[in-house]
Symmetry: C2
Subunit: 191 residues, 2 copies
Protein backbone atom coordinates (compact mmCIF):
# COMPACT_ATOMS: atom_id res chain seq x y z
CA UNK A 1 0.00 0.00 0.00
CA UNK A 2 1.29 3.44 -0.94
CA UNK A 3 1.13 5.79 2.08
CA UNK A 4 1.21 9.55 1.48
CA UNK A 5 3.94 11.44 3.33
CA UNK A 6 2.96 14.29 5.67
CA UNK A 7 3.71 17.83 4.51
CA UNK A 8 2.99 21.41 5.48
CA UNK A 9 2.10 24.68 3.84
CA UNK A 10 2.83 28.03 5.45
CA UNK A 11 -0.29 30.19 5.20
CA UNK A 12 -0.13 33.95 5.56
CA UNK A 13 -3.05 34.41 7.95
CA UNK A 14 -3.59 37.98 6.74
CA UNK A 15 -3.55 37.45 2.96
CA UNK A 16 -4.24 33.70 2.66
CA UNK A 17 -1.17 33.24 0.43
CA UNK A 18 0.36 29.74 0.52
CA UNK A 19 4.10 29.08 0.70
CA UNK A 20 5.20 27.08 -1.16
CA UNK A 21 2.72 28.06 -3.86
CA UNK A 22 0.10 25.36 -4.49
CA UNK A 23 -2.80 25.51 -6.93
CA UNK A 24 -4.20 29.02 -7.36
CA UNK A 25 -7.65 29.55 -8.84
CA UNK A 26 -8.35 33.11 -9.97
CA UNK A 27 -11.90 34.27 -10.72
CA UNK A 28 -12.27 37.51 -12.61
CA UNK A 29 -15.52 39.35 -13.25
CA UNK A 30 -15.61 37.93 -16.80
CA UNK A 31 -15.73 34.40 -15.30
CA UNK A 32 -18.97 35.14 -13.46
CA UNK A 33 -20.50 38.35 -14.85
CA UNK A 34 -23.96 36.84 -15.29
CA UNK A 35 -24.08 35.71 -11.64
CA UNK A 36 -24.57 39.28 -10.41
CA UNK A 37 -28.09 40.66 -10.12
CA UNK A 38 -27.10 43.82 -11.99
CA UNK A 39 -25.88 42.17 -15.18
CA UNK A 40 -25.87 45.55 -16.93
CA UNK A 41 -23.43 47.02 -14.40
CA UNK A 42 -21.18 43.98 -14.80
CA UNK A 43 -21.26 44.24 -18.59
CA UNK A 44 -20.63 47.99 -18.54
CA UNK A 45 -17.52 47.46 -16.42
CA UNK A 46 -16.24 44.78 -18.77
CA UNK A 47 -17.03 46.96 -21.81
CA UNK A 48 -14.95 49.74 -20.28
CA UNK A 49 -11.97 47.38 -20.36
CA UNK A 50 -11.97 46.66 -16.62
CA UNK A 51 -12.07 42.97 -15.65
CA UNK A 52 -11.28 42.96 -11.90
CA UNK A 53 -10.15 39.90 -10.00
CA UNK A 54 -13.09 39.04 -7.71
CA UNK A 55 -11.40 36.29 -5.70
CA UNK A 56 -8.46 33.94 -5.51
CA UNK A 57 -8.31 30.46 -4.00
CA UNK A 58 -5.09 28.87 -2.77
CA UNK A 59 -5.71 25.16 -2.53
CA UNK A 60 -3.58 22.21 -1.48
CA UNK A 61 -3.31 19.48 -4.14
CA UNK A 62 -4.77 16.31 -2.65
CA UNK A 63 -6.65 13.36 -4.14
CA UNK A 64 -10.37 14.13 -4.30
CA UNK A 65 -11.36 10.85 -2.70
CA UNK A 66 -12.65 9.72 0.68
CA UNK A 67 -10.06 9.83 3.45
CA UNK A 68 -8.48 13.15 2.54
CA UNK A 69 -9.32 16.51 4.08
CA UNK A 70 -9.07 19.08 1.31
CA UNK A 71 -8.30 22.63 2.41
CA UNK A 72 -7.83 26.06 0.92
CA UNK A 73 -7.84 29.75 1.65
CA UNK A 74 -10.09 32.12 -0.27
CA UNK A 75 -9.35 35.83 -0.65
CA UNK A 76 -12.28 37.91 -1.87
CA UNK A 77 -11.35 41.44 -2.87
CA UNK A 78 -13.47 44.39 -1.71
CA UNK A 79 -15.83 45.89 -4.25
CA UNK A 80 -19.36 45.91 -5.65
CA UNK A 81 -21.11 45.23 -8.95
CA UNK A 82 -24.05 47.58 -8.80
CA UNK A 83 -25.28 47.25 -5.20
CA UNK A 84 -23.98 43.71 -4.78
CA UNK A 85 -20.73 42.97 -3.00
CA UNK A 86 -17.95 40.91 -4.59
CA UNK A 87 -18.65 37.23 -3.93
CA UNK A 88 -17.66 33.70 -4.85
CA UNK A 89 -19.58 31.69 -7.44
CA UNK A 90 -20.86 29.38 -4.72
CA UNK A 91 -21.71 25.71 -5.11
CA UNK A 92 -23.39 22.63 -3.77
CA UNK A 93 -21.21 19.65 -3.11
CA UNK A 94 -21.64 17.08 -5.88
CA UNK A 95 -22.17 14.61 -3.04
CA UNK A 96 -24.90 16.59 -1.30
CA UNK A 97 -24.50 14.93 2.10
CA UNK A 98 -21.02 16.43 2.66
CA UNK A 99 -20.43 19.40 4.97
CA UNK A 100 -17.62 21.95 5.21
CA UNK A 101 -16.09 24.24 7.82
CA UNK A 102 -14.87 27.81 7.32
CA UNK A 103 -12.65 29.91 9.59
CA UNK A 104 -12.43 33.67 9.06
CA UNK A 105 -8.82 34.92 8.99
CA UNK A 106 -8.98 38.60 8.00
CA UNK A 107 -11.53 41.13 6.84
CA UNK A 108 -15.26 40.61 7.12
CA UNK A 109 -17.98 39.03 5.08
CA UNK A 110 -21.04 36.84 4.88
CA UNK A 111 -21.61 33.18 4.25
CA UNK A 112 -24.91 32.67 2.38
CA UNK A 113 -26.35 29.17 2.23
CA UNK A 114 -29.44 27.41 0.91
CA UNK A 115 -30.87 23.96 0.52
CA UNK A 116 -32.70 22.42 -2.41
CA UNK A 117 -35.69 22.02 -0.11
CA UNK A 118 -36.11 25.80 0.22
CA UNK A 119 -34.19 26.91 3.30
CA UNK A 120 -31.87 29.93 3.39
CA UNK A 121 -29.24 31.13 5.86
CA UNK A 122 -26.86 34.11 6.06
CA UNK A 123 -24.07 34.18 8.64
CA UNK A 124 -21.77 37.14 9.26
CA UNK A 125 -18.08 36.28 9.45
CA UNK A 126 -15.02 38.03 10.86
CA UNK A 127 -11.57 36.80 11.93
CA UNK A 128 -12.09 33.76 14.16
CA UNK A 129 -15.60 32.93 13.01
CA UNK A 130 -15.81 29.15 12.54
CA UNK A 131 -18.91 28.79 10.35
CA UNK A 132 -20.32 25.34 9.77
CA UNK A 133 -21.88 24.42 6.42
CA UNK A 134 -23.85 21.27 7.27
CA UNK A 135 -24.54 18.59 4.66
CA UNK A 136 -27.04 19.62 1.90
CA UNK A 137 -26.34 23.39 2.02
CA UNK A 138 -25.03 25.28 -1.01
CA UNK A 139 -22.56 27.94 0.11
CA UNK A 140 -21.31 31.29 -1.19
CA UNK A 141 -19.11 33.86 0.56
CA UNK A 142 -19.30 37.63 0.16
CA UNK A 143 -16.86 40.41 1.10
CA UNK A 144 -18.91 43.08 2.88
CA UNK A 145 -15.92 45.12 4.09
CA UNK A 146 -13.38 47.53 2.66
CA UNK A 147 -10.38 45.16 2.99
CA UNK A 148 -9.88 41.71 1.47
CA UNK A 149 -11.97 39.02 3.20
CA UNK A 150 -9.84 35.91 3.77
CA UNK A 151 -10.94 32.59 5.22
CA UNK A 152 -9.76 28.99 5.53
CA UNK A 153 -11.96 26.08 4.45
CA UNK A 154 -11.80 22.30 4.97
CA UNK A 155 -13.98 19.59 3.42
CA UNK A 156 -13.85 15.88 2.66
CA UNK A 157 -12.13 14.59 -0.47
CA UNK A 158 -15.22 12.84 -1.81
CA UNK A 159 -17.50 15.93 -1.60
CA UNK A 160 -16.88 17.25 -5.11
CA UNK A 161 -18.32 20.49 -6.54
CA UNK A 162 -21.55 21.23 -8.36
CA UNK A 163 -21.30 24.79 -9.71
CA UNK A 164 -23.91 24.29 -12.42
CA UNK A 165 -27.00 24.34 -10.21
CA UNK A 166 -26.09 27.75 -8.78
CA UNK A 167 -25.02 29.10 -12.19
CA UNK A 168 -28.49 28.20 -13.46
CA UNK A 169 -30.65 29.15 -10.46
CA UNK A 170 -28.59 31.62 -8.41
CA UNK A 171 -29.03 32.09 -4.67
CA UNK A 172 -32.34 33.06 -3.05
CA UNK A 173 -30.65 35.75 -0.98
CA UNK A 174 -28.34 38.56 -2.05
CA UNK A 175 -26.06 40.67 0.11
CA UNK A 176 -26.23 44.27 -1.09
CA UNK A 177 -25.53 47.78 0.08
CA UNK A 178 -28.58 50.04 0.03
CA UNK A 179 -28.51 53.62 1.32
CA UNK A 180 -25.06 52.94 2.79
CA UNK A 181 -26.20 49.90 4.78
CA UNK A 182 -25.69 46.18 4.33
CA UNK A 183 -28.94 44.37 3.56
CA UNK A 184 -29.82 40.73 3.04
CA UNK A 185 -32.52 40.82 0.36
CA UNK A 186 -34.48 38.30 -1.67
CA UNK A 187 -33.05 37.75 -5.14
CA UNK A 188 -35.64 39.23 -7.55
CA UNK A 189 -34.47 36.86 -10.31
CA UNK A 190 -34.73 33.67 -8.24
CA UNK A 191 -37.62 31.39 -8.90
Amino acid sequence: MEIMQPFKTEVDLQTGVFSPTRDIITRKLSNMATMYADVEAAQALLDSGDDPIIYEVHVTELPEVEGHILHCTTKIYPGKIGDEYFMTKGHYHAQRDQGEVYVGLSGEGYLVMQTESGESSAIAMKPGTAAYVPPYWAHRTINTGSEPFVFFAAWAGEAGHDYGTIERDGFRQLIVEKDGHLQVIDNPKYD
Copy 2:
Protein backbone atom coordinates in the same frame (compact mmCIF):
# COMPACT_ATOMS: atom_id res chain seq x y z
CA MET B 1 -35.16 14.13 5.85
CA GLU B 2 -33.92 16.17 8.80
CA ILE B 3 -31.45 18.85 7.62
CA MET B 4 -29.08 20.38 10.16
CA GLN B 5 -29.16 24.17 10.40
CA PRO B 6 -25.94 26.16 9.83
CA PHE B 7 -24.31 27.75 12.86
CA LYS B 8 -21.12 29.50 13.84
CA THR B 9 -18.68 29.58 16.72
CA GLU B 10 -16.48 32.57 17.44
CA VAL B 11 -12.94 31.33 18.03
CA ASP B 12 -10.36 33.45 19.84
CA LEU B 13 -7.46 32.97 17.42
CA GLN B 14 -4.94 33.66 20.19
CA THR B 15 -6.28 31.37 22.94
CA GLY B 16 -8.47 28.93 20.97
CA VAL B 17 -11.43 29.60 23.29
CA PHE B 18 -14.86 29.03 21.70
CA SER B 19 -17.81 31.37 22.14
CA PRO B 20 -20.39 30.15 22.84
CA THR B 21 -18.71 27.44 24.89
CA ARG B 22 -18.95 24.01 23.25
CA ASP B 23 -17.48 20.76 24.55
CA ILE B 24 -14.22 21.26 26.44
CA ILE B 25 -11.89 18.33 27.04
CA THR B 26 -9.25 18.94 29.73
CA ARG B 27 -6.22 16.67 30.04
CA LYS B 28 -4.23 16.93 33.24
CA LEU B 29 -0.91 15.25 33.93
CA SER B 30 -2.72 12.57 35.96
CA ASN B 31 -4.68 11.61 32.81
CA MET B 32 -1.48 10.73 30.92
CA ALA B 33 1.41 10.48 33.40
CA THR B 34 2.62 7.13 32.07
CA MET B 35 2.84 8.48 28.51
CA TYR B 36 5.93 10.55 29.34
CA ALA B 37 9.36 8.95 28.96
CA ASP B 38 10.39 10.14 32.43
CA VAL B 39 7.62 8.44 34.38
CA GLU B 40 9.48 9.13 37.64
CA ALA B 41 9.47 12.89 37.02
CA ALA B 42 5.74 12.75 36.26
CA GLN B 43 5.03 10.76 39.41
CA ALA B 44 7.20 13.04 41.57
CA LEU B 45 5.23 16.06 40.38
CA LEU B 46 1.91 14.35 41.12
CA ASP B 47 3.20 13.20 44.54
CA SER B 48 4.07 16.81 45.35
CA GLY B 49 0.39 17.66 44.89
CA ASP B 50 0.83 19.38 41.49
CA ASP B 51 -1.38 18.06 38.67
CA PRO B 52 -0.98 20.63 35.89
CA ILE B 53 -3.37 20.97 32.98
CA ILE B 54 -1.36 19.79 29.96
CA TYR B 55 -3.89 20.72 27.27
CA GLU B 56 -7.48 21.71 26.57
CA VAL B 57 -9.59 20.96 23.51
CA HIS B 58 -12.57 23.08 22.46
CA VAL B 59 -14.64 20.99 20.10
CA THR B 60 -17.86 21.60 18.20
CA GLU B 61 -20.57 19.02 18.91
CA LEU B 62 -21.39 17.29 15.62
CA PRO B 63 -22.50 13.77 14.75
CA GLU B 64 -19.48 11.50 14.34
CA VAL B 65 -20.65 10.12 11.03
CA GLU B 66 -19.70 10.52 7.39
CA GLY B 67 -20.69 13.86 5.88
CA HIS B 68 -19.71 16.06 8.82
CA ILE B 69 -16.45 17.94 9.21
CA LEU B 70 -15.55 17.84 12.88
CA HIS B 71 -13.37 20.67 14.12
CA CYS B 72 -11.71 21.84 17.30
CA THR B 73 -8.97 24.01 18.72
CA THR B 74 -6.30 22.56 20.98
CA LYS B 75 -4.34 24.65 23.48
CA ILE B 76 -1.22 22.97 24.86
CA TYR B 77 0.30 24.77 27.82
CA PRO B 78 4.06 25.37 27.96
CA GLY B 79 6.07 23.09 30.22
CA LYS B 80 8.14 19.92 30.45
CA ILE B 81 8.03 16.59 32.27
CA GLY B 82 11.69 15.81 32.71
CA ASP B 83 13.22 16.76 29.33
CA GLU B 84 9.99 16.16 27.41
CA TYR B 85 7.72 19.00 26.39
CA PHE B 86 4.02 19.05 27.24
CA MET B 87 2.13 17.17 24.53
CA THR B 88 -1.21 15.63 23.60
CA LYS B 89 -1.93 11.93 24.09
CA GLY B 90 -1.95 11.41 20.34
CA HIS B 91 -4.00 8.85 18.45
CA TYR B 92 -4.64 6.95 15.28
CA HIS B 93 -8.00 7.36 13.66
CA ALA B 94 -10.17 4.33 14.38
CA GLN B 95 -10.79 4.33 10.63
CA ARG B 96 -7.12 4.35 9.63
CA ASP B 97 -7.68 5.66 6.10
CA GLN B 98 -8.89 9.09 7.35
CA GLY B 99 -6.65 12.18 7.27
CA GLU B 100 -6.78 15.47 9.17
CA VAL B 101 -5.59 19.04 8.71
CA TYR B 102 -4.08 21.34 11.36
CA VAL B 103 -3.58 25.10 11.25
CA GLY B 104 -1.28 26.79 13.78
CA LEU B 105 -2.91 29.82 15.42
CA SER B 106 -0.53 30.96 18.17
CA GLY B 107 2.67 29.78 19.83
CA GLU B 108 4.92 27.11 18.39
CA GLY B 109 5.17 23.38 18.48
CA TYR B 110 5.72 20.13 16.67
CA LEU B 111 3.42 17.62 15.04
CA VAL B 112 4.84 14.10 15.43
CA MET B 113 3.38 11.32 13.28
CA GLN B 114 3.96 7.66 12.61
CA THR B 115 2.46 4.80 10.67
CA GLU B 116 1.91 1.21 11.71
CA SER B 117 4.26 0.19 8.89
CA GLY B 118 7.23 1.89 10.58
CA GLU B 119 7.44 5.44 9.23
CA SER B 120 7.96 8.55 11.38
CA SER B 121 7.62 12.27 10.71
CA ALA B 122 8.10 15.44 12.77
CA ILE B 123 6.88 18.81 11.45
CA ALA B 124 7.53 22.14 13.15
CA MET B 125 4.44 24.37 13.46
CA LYS B 126 3.92 28.08 14.05
CA PRO B 127 1.00 30.45 13.41
CA GLY B 128 -0.18 29.83 9.84
CA THR B 129 1.36 26.39 9.42
CA ALA B 130 -1.21 24.17 7.68
CA ALA B 131 0.10 20.68 8.46
CA TYR B 132 -1.45 17.74 6.70
CA VAL B 133 -1.87 14.39 8.48
CA PRO B 134 -2.47 11.98 5.59
CA PRO B 135 -4.49 8.80 6.03
CA TYR B 136 -2.79 6.09 8.18
CA TRP B 137 -0.65 8.44 10.32
CA ALA B 138 -1.01 8.60 14.11
CA HIS B 139 -0.57 12.19 15.27
CA ARG B 140 0.55 13.96 18.45
CA THR B 141 1.27 17.66 18.99
CA ILE B 142 3.88 19.13 21.32
CA ASN B 143 4.36 22.64 22.69
CA THR B 144 8.04 23.51 22.19
CA GLY B 145 7.71 27.19 23.09
CA SER B 146 7.27 29.33 26.19
CA GLU B 147 3.68 30.42 25.40
CA PRO B 148 0.58 28.27 24.85
CA PHE B 149 0.60 26.48 21.49
CA VAL B 150 -2.85 26.76 19.88
CA PHE B 151 -4.02 25.19 16.64
CA PHE B 152 -7.21 24.44 14.72
CA ALA B 153 -7.98 20.93 13.44
CA ALA B 154 -10.56 19.51 11.01
CA TRP B 155 -11.31 15.85 10.25
CA ALA B 156 -14.15 13.75 8.86
CA GLY B 157 -16.99 12.60 11.10
CA GLU B 158 -16.43 8.90 10.43
CA ALA B 159 -12.71 8.93 11.37
CA GLY B 160 -13.09 8.10 15.06
CA HIS B 161 -10.26 7.89 17.59
CA ASP B 162 -8.01 5.03 18.65
CA TYR B 163 -6.08 6.18 21.72
CA GLY B 164 -5.33 2.68 22.96
CA THR B 165 -2.62 1.78 20.43
CA ILE B 166 -0.53 4.85 21.38
CA GLU B 167 -1.19 4.37 25.10
CA ARG B 168 0.22 0.86 24.76
CA ASP B 169 3.12 1.46 22.33
CA GLY B 170 3.92 5.18 22.57
CA PHE B 171 5.49 7.13 19.71
CA ARG B 172 8.82 6.22 18.11
CA GLN B 173 10.03 9.80 18.34
CA LEU B 174 10.12 12.16 21.32
CA ILE B 175 10.56 15.93 21.29
CA VAL B 176 12.85 16.89 24.17
CA GLU B 177 15.08 19.70 25.33
CA LYS B 178 18.72 18.66 25.83
CA ASP B 179 21.44 21.16 26.76
CA GLY B 180 19.00 23.97 26.09
CA HIS B 181 18.17 22.84 22.55
CA LEU B 182 15.15 21.13 21.02
CA GLN B 183 15.94 17.62 19.82
CA VAL B 184 13.90 14.96 18.04
CA ILE B 185 15.14 11.70 19.55
CA ASP B 186 14.23 8.02 19.32
CA ASN B 187 12.00 6.86 22.16
CA PRO B 188 14.18 4.51 24.25
CA LYS B 189 11.08 2.65 25.45
CA TYR B 190 9.58 2.05 21.99
CA ASP B 191 9.86 -1.43 20.54
